[in-house]
């Protein structure tokens, strides 16, 4: 399997985002096992250190837990945490970027709430 990684973000981050995406989309559910580091490394042709680093961040954020000798599992509280994190990230990172774009495009901020309820219809 080949993946097109972008060159803006370190690959381990992109891999982590991929796992987060799977969690948010419900492809991985609380209690599910994550594929082993070896499997992911082989599948995506990545150095195992890269995969480990992505997994380690997930462990640090308590979205994934290591069960000794068995592997990595999505934690029960992961989805709630993840949604909270994602909301925070949206407010702190994505929203300011969006706001910047709105300014650059010269859009009238006052008009936007109206667009939201009409689903962006013109």
């Amino acid at each position: 399997m080949s993946v097109n990684w972008n060159d803006q973000t370190p690959i381990y981050r992109q891999l982590k985002q991929r796992v987060l995406g799977m969690m948010l989309d419900g492809l991985l559910k609380p209690g599910d096992a994550l594929p082993s580091v070896r499997q992911v490394a082989a599948e995506y042709q990545l150095n195992p250190i890269t995969v480990l680093k992505a997994y380690q961040e997930l462990v640090d954020e308590e979205l994934v837990e290591k069960r000794r000798g068995v592997g990595m599992y999505m934690t029960e509280s992961a989805l709630d945490k993840l949604l909270a994190n994602e909301r925070q990230r949206f407010i702190e990172e994505e929203w300011p970027a969006m706001l910047e774009r709105i300014r650059r495009l010269g859009l009238d901020v006052q008009q936007l709430p109206g667009l939201m309820t009409t689903g962006g219809d013109k």
Partner: protein, 293 residues
């Protein structure tokens, strides 16, 4: 002195001031490097400028000046002992055309004490290869599979691959590295790869060593590399600012200028344009220019 002994025992390879001359031509000039266990190291450089000579020195194939320890052994004087722990593949075209699968197994079983025949046979059972098949009647993909079966069944601590996928279709090249990661590599093993297909291996590498003109131009882990080097797509209005930060290289892409910086803070660079992580190839090209200046 203590720290020196420490590095010697914890390194898989410790090379100090290695030099090699063919006649009047100096192919390795005072080269030193350390390789730790559990790493996948890419040895990258133009042809004929030190790569193969370095591999030969590691394998004890030929003499050189300087000090070299591979798995704690001197490859020049302890080559037999060293070969028990090392597996070396030049390129996959090296198997004789007349040899049968079972003869290849017999041969490796005879020459390599760490060869696990049952493991090789188990691997082969998942392929279309049969014991009586000859290399000359195999497709290239099958030859790779035979090769892989032989490598994976050798419990070697160090695997040296010199252009391992030369002449293979892209499909089999991928399969080669995929199997290597899945069935062979673990944190106690070390792989050294030289290849021209840098893009193909760059994500599986943990370290790169750039060699040019007999010298090491850059030796870095991929993690450090990503922290240290940044490529910036410089916006035209920021050209002066960007040049003041002393880029190590610059090139024009679609009318925009891409500059490569070494050790400049990310935040500073984000102000002058879109930043990204440089590819190994671009970094190598820039490093070579760096030596020339």
């Amino acid at each position: 002195m203590i720290s020196v002994t420490d590095t010697v025992t914890s390194s898989v390879i410790s090379a100090r001031s290695i030099s090699k001359q063919y006649g009047k031509q100096r192919v390795l000039d005072d080269v030193s490097f350390e390789i730790a266990p559990g790493r996948i190291v890419g040895l990258i450089g133009p042809n004929g400028l030190g790569k193969t000579t370095t591999l030969k020195a590691i394998l004890g194939l030929g003499n050189f000046d300087g000090e070299m320890q591979v798995l704690g052994l001197d490859p020049r004087t302890q080559r037999d002992a060293l070969m028990n722990e090392v597996c070396f593949i030049a390129d996959v075209a090296i198997l004789p055309r007349w040899i049968k699968v079972k003869q290849a197994l017999d041969f490796v079983a005879g020459v390599h004490p760490k060869f696990n025949r049952a493991k090789a046979e188990k691997y082969l059972a998942n392929t279309k290869l049969s014991p009586d098949m000859k290399v000359k009647s195999m497709s290239k993909g099958m030859v790779v599979q035979l090769h892989l079966a032989l490598i994976m069944a050798i419990d070697a601590k160090l695997l040296v691959l010199d252009e391992p996928t030369l002449g293979l279709d892209i499909l089999y090249r991928k399969q080669f590295y995929q199997n290597l990661l899945e069935d062979y590599f673990d944190e106690n093993k070390t792989i050294i790869i030289t290849t021209h297909q840098v893009e193909e291996v760059e994500h599986i590498l943990s370290d790169v060593i750039f060699i040019d003109d007999g010298k090491i131009v850059l030796e870095t882990s991929m993690e450090q590399m990503a922290e240290r080097f940044v490529e910036v797509l410089v916006a035209p209005e920021n050209m002066e600012k960007a040049l003041a930060l002393q880029p190590m290289d610059q090139r024009a892409v679609f009318g925009k200028v891409v500059m490569l910086f070494d050790g400049v803070a990310q935040e500073m660079l984000a102000n002058i344009g879109e930043t990204r992580i440089p590819g190994v190839v671009d970094l190598f090209v820039a490093s070579m220019k760096g030596v020339a200046k």
